[in-house]
C-alpha cells in the first residue's frame, strides 16, 4: 500500500524526534544553569576564601589548628588570630549530634506514616512536619533561648548555652527534611517486596527491618545528607543558643560556636577585601569542604549498606 509514504516518513525527522531534541535541550539547559550557578558560588566562595592564605599570608595549618579567633587583631608575634578550630569542632559537633538523634526519629516517624498507620500518620504527622520547615530560624532560636537554654541550665548547670542546646534546636529543625525524604524513600520500595516478605512468613517488623529499610537505605542517606547540610548551614537559631563564642568547647554545655554562626554574625560588619572579610570567606570555604567530606562519607556508608 503506502509503502513509499512509510519509507519516506521513516527517513524524515519526525515530530517525536523534534520534541525529544527540544526536551533534551530544555532539560540540559536547566541542569547547565544549575551547574553554572553552583560553579559560580563555589568560585565566589573559593576565590575569597583562598585569598586569606595567598594575599594575607595566613598559614593554612595555623588556620586549621589554632584556637584563637579575632582576625582583626594580632597575637604577640604579629600574626592575625585566625584559628578556626573552635568553630570546626562546634560545627562538626552540632551537625553530627543532631543528625545522630534526628535519624532514628525520622525513620521512626516515617515508618509510622508509611507502614504502621498510614492514614492517621498522614493526616496528623505529615502536615505538622511540613509546618516545621516554614518556621523562621529566628523563632526557633527564640524558643530555644526561652525554653531549651534555661532547661539545660537547670538540669546541667552552667549558662545553658552550648552544643547541647544547639543540638536540640537543630534536631527539631532538620527533622522535617530528613523525615520527608525518608518517607519518599520508603514509599519508593515496591509493594511486591513487602508482599513477598510477608508471604514468606516474616513479621511486619522483620519485613520493615530486613526488606523495606534495606531497600530504602540510599534514599534515607540522601535525606540525612540534606538534613546535615541544613544543620551545617543554619545560622540564626544556632547562634542564639550555642553561645556563639569562639572558644574550644570543653563539654556539651560550654559556650561554643559554629562556622556558620561566626560567618553570619561577622560578614556584614567587615569590609570586602580586608583580612577580616577574607577570613570569614575562608570559613565558608571550609564549610563547603567539610560538607563535601560529610557527603562522601554518608554516600560511602550508604553504598555499603546497599550491598549487604
Amino acid at each position: 500500500m503506502q509503502n513509499d509514504e512509510i519509507r519516506k516518513a521513516l527517513q524524515k525527522t519526525s515530530r517525536a524526534t523534534r520534541t525529544e531534541r527540544m526536551g533534551k535541550i530544555i532539560s540540559f539547559s536547566c541542569i547547565a544553569l544549575i551547574v553554572v550557578v553552583v560553579a559560580a558560588i563555589f568560585w565566589f566562595v573559593a576565590s575569597r576564601g583562598i585569598a586569606t592564605f595567598t594575599e594575607n599570608g595566613v598559614n593554612l595549618w595555623q588556620f586549621l589548628s589554632k584556637t584563637a579567633w579575632a582576625p582583626g587583631t594580632t597575637d604577640a608575634s604579629g600574626v592575625p588570630k585566625t584559628g578556626a578550630l573552635p568553630m570546626i569542632v562546634g560545627s562538626f559537633g552540632v551537625t553530627f549530634l543532631s543528625a545522630l538523634i534526628a535519624t532514628p526519629f525520622a525513620i521512626g516517624a516515617a515508618l509510622f506514616m508509611t507502614e504502621i498507620a498510614p492514614k492517621r500518620g498522614g493526616k496528623i504527622l505529615q502536615p505538622v512536619i511540613d509546618l516545621l520547615v516554614g518556621i523562621p530560624s529566628v523563632v526557633y532560636g527564640f524558643v530555644g533561648l526561652t525554653v531549651v537554654v534555661p532547661a539545660i541550665r537547670h538540669i546541667f548547670g552552667g549558662t545553658g548555652f552550648g552544643i547541647l542546646a544547639g543540638m536540640f534546636v537543630l534536631f527539631v529543625m532538620i527533622l522535617p527534611t530528613v523525615t520527608s525524604m525518608t518517607i519518599e524513600a520508603i514509599k519508593a520500595v515496591p509493594r511486591r517486596y513487602r508482599e513477598a516478605s510477608l508471604a514468606l512468613g516474616a513479621t511486619r517488623w522483620q519485613t520493615i527491618y530486613k526488606v523495606v529499610l534495606r531497600a530504602a537505605t540510599p534514599g534515607i542517606m540522601t535525606g540525612i545528607v540534606f538534613g546535615m547540610a541544613r544543620a551545617f548551614g543554619e545560622a540564626l537559631a544556632v547562634q542564639m543558643v550555642i553561645g556563639n563564642a569562639a572558644l574550644m568547647p570543653h563539654n556539651l554545655i560550654s559556650p561554643a560556636s559554629t562556622l556558620t554562626s561566626v560567618l553570619t554574625s561577622g560578614i556584614g560588619n567587615t569590609v570586602m577585601g580586608s583580612l577580616e572579610n577574607n577570613a570569614l570567606w575562608s570559613l565558608a570555604l571550609l564549610l563547603l569542604l567539610m560538607s563535601l567530606a560529610f557527603n562522601l562519607i554518608v554516600r560511602w556508608i550508604g553504598k555499603r549498606g546497599e550491598m549487604k
Partner: protein, 265 residues
C-alpha cells in the same frame, strides 16, 4: 562430519516479509548477548520465539524496534530490514519506526490515566483532534483486543484499576490503535491467569489478519497453539527456525528436541 550448528528454514519466494534480520548481534557493553541471528518474519503470520531464560530471545525481540536503545551501553551490529530499510541506519527516525513496529511488554504497563486516555493519548500527541475519530479508535481497538464489552461502561475510569488480564489486553489495544505493521510481544501472557491468557491468545489470532506478530513466550503450548513459525533460541543463538508444526513434531536439531520435549529450560 560436523553437525550443522543451526537450521533456518528458508521461506518460499512468494512469502512477503514484514521484517527480517541479517547477522544481528546485540551487545551490552562488551558482552555479546545475541550472536549473529538471521531470521525472516512473514507478513500476517505469528512467529514465536522460544527458548530457556537467558537465551537472548527477549533481547533479540527488544532490538527489533530498538527498545534496547534505552539501556545504557547497549549496541547492535548487523541489519534489521523493514520495508527495504535498515532501521538502525543513520537516517532512520527511531520514533517514526516505532509507530510501525509496536510492542507489548511482559508486565502490563497501562499509563496512569483513564482507559480512554490510554488509547487516545498517543493518537492525540500525533495530532488527531477529532473526537469522533478518537472515539472510534477506542471502540475498534478495544473490540479487536476483546476488551470492549468488559470496559465500555467505564472508559473514563483509571486503567490501573483493571485486572491484570484486562490491563494486558488494554496494552494490546493501545498498541494496535496506532495501526502498526508489526507487533512485538514480550511474554504478554506470562503474568496472567489461564482465563486471561486464553483471552489474549484469542485476541492474537484475530489480529493475525491485519498484523504481523512476533511473540516471545515461555509457554510451549502457547507457541504451538497460536504461531505459524517458531524460532528456538539457545544461549544467544537462534538454533532452529521452522514452521511451528515441524518444530514441535520433527525438530532438526537435538537441542530443540530436548527443549520441546521438556528436558531442560
Amino acid at each position: 562430519m560436523a553437525e550443522p550448528k543451526q537450521f533456518i528454514r528458508e521461506l518460499p519466494a512468494t512469502a512477503e516479509l514484514a521484517l527480517s534480520t541479517e547477522d544481528l548481534r546485540v551487545f551490552y557493553g562488551s558482552k555479546e548477548a545475541v550472536h549473529g541471528v538471521t531470521l525472516p518474519f512473514e507478513r500476517y503470520k505469528i512467529t514465536a520465539l522460544i527458548g530457556p531464560s537467558g537465551s537472548g530471545k527477549s533481547t533479540f525481540l527488544r532490538s527489533l524496534n530498538r527498545m534496547n536503545d534505552t539501556i545504557d551501553g547497549s549496541s547492535v551490529t548487523g541489519k534489521i530490514m523493514y520495508r527495504g530499510l535498515d532501521i538502525n541506519a543513520k537516517g532512520i527516525d527511531v520514533y517514526e519506526m516505532r509507530r510501525h513496529i509496536g510492542m507489548v511488554f511482559q508486565r502490563p504497563n497501562p499509563f496512569a490515566k483513564s482507559i480512554y486516555d490510554n488509547i487516545t493519548f498517543a493518537l492525540r500527541r500525533f495530532g488527531e483532534k477529532d473526537k469522533t475519530v478518537l472515539d472510534e479508535a477506542v471502540e475498534t481497538s478495544l473490540k479487536q483486543a476483546a476488551l470492549w464489552d468488559e470496559v465500555k461502561d467505564k472508559l473514563h475510569k483509571s486503567a490501573q484499576a483493571l485486572s491484570g488480564g484486562q490491563q494486558q489486553r488494554l496494552c494490546i489495544a493501545r498498541a494496535i490503535a496506532m495501526h502498526p505493521d508489526v507487533l512485538l510481544m514480550d511474554e504478554p501472557a506470562s503474568a496472567l491467569d489461564p482465563i486471561s491468557t486464553a483471552a489474549v491468545e484469542d485476541t492474537m489470532l484475530q489480529l493475525k489478519d491485519k498484523y504481523t506478530i512476533i511473540i516471545v513466550t515461555h509457554n510451549m503450548q502457547q507457541a504451538a497453539r497460536i504461531s505459524d513459525y517458531t524460532a528456538f533460541f539457545y544461549s544467544g543463538d537462534c538454533v532452529e527456525f521452522d514452521e511451528t508444526r515441524r518444530i514441535f513434531t520433527r525438530p532438526k536439531m537435538q537441542a530443540t528436541d530436548d527443549y520441546v520435549a521438556g528436558h531442560f529450560g
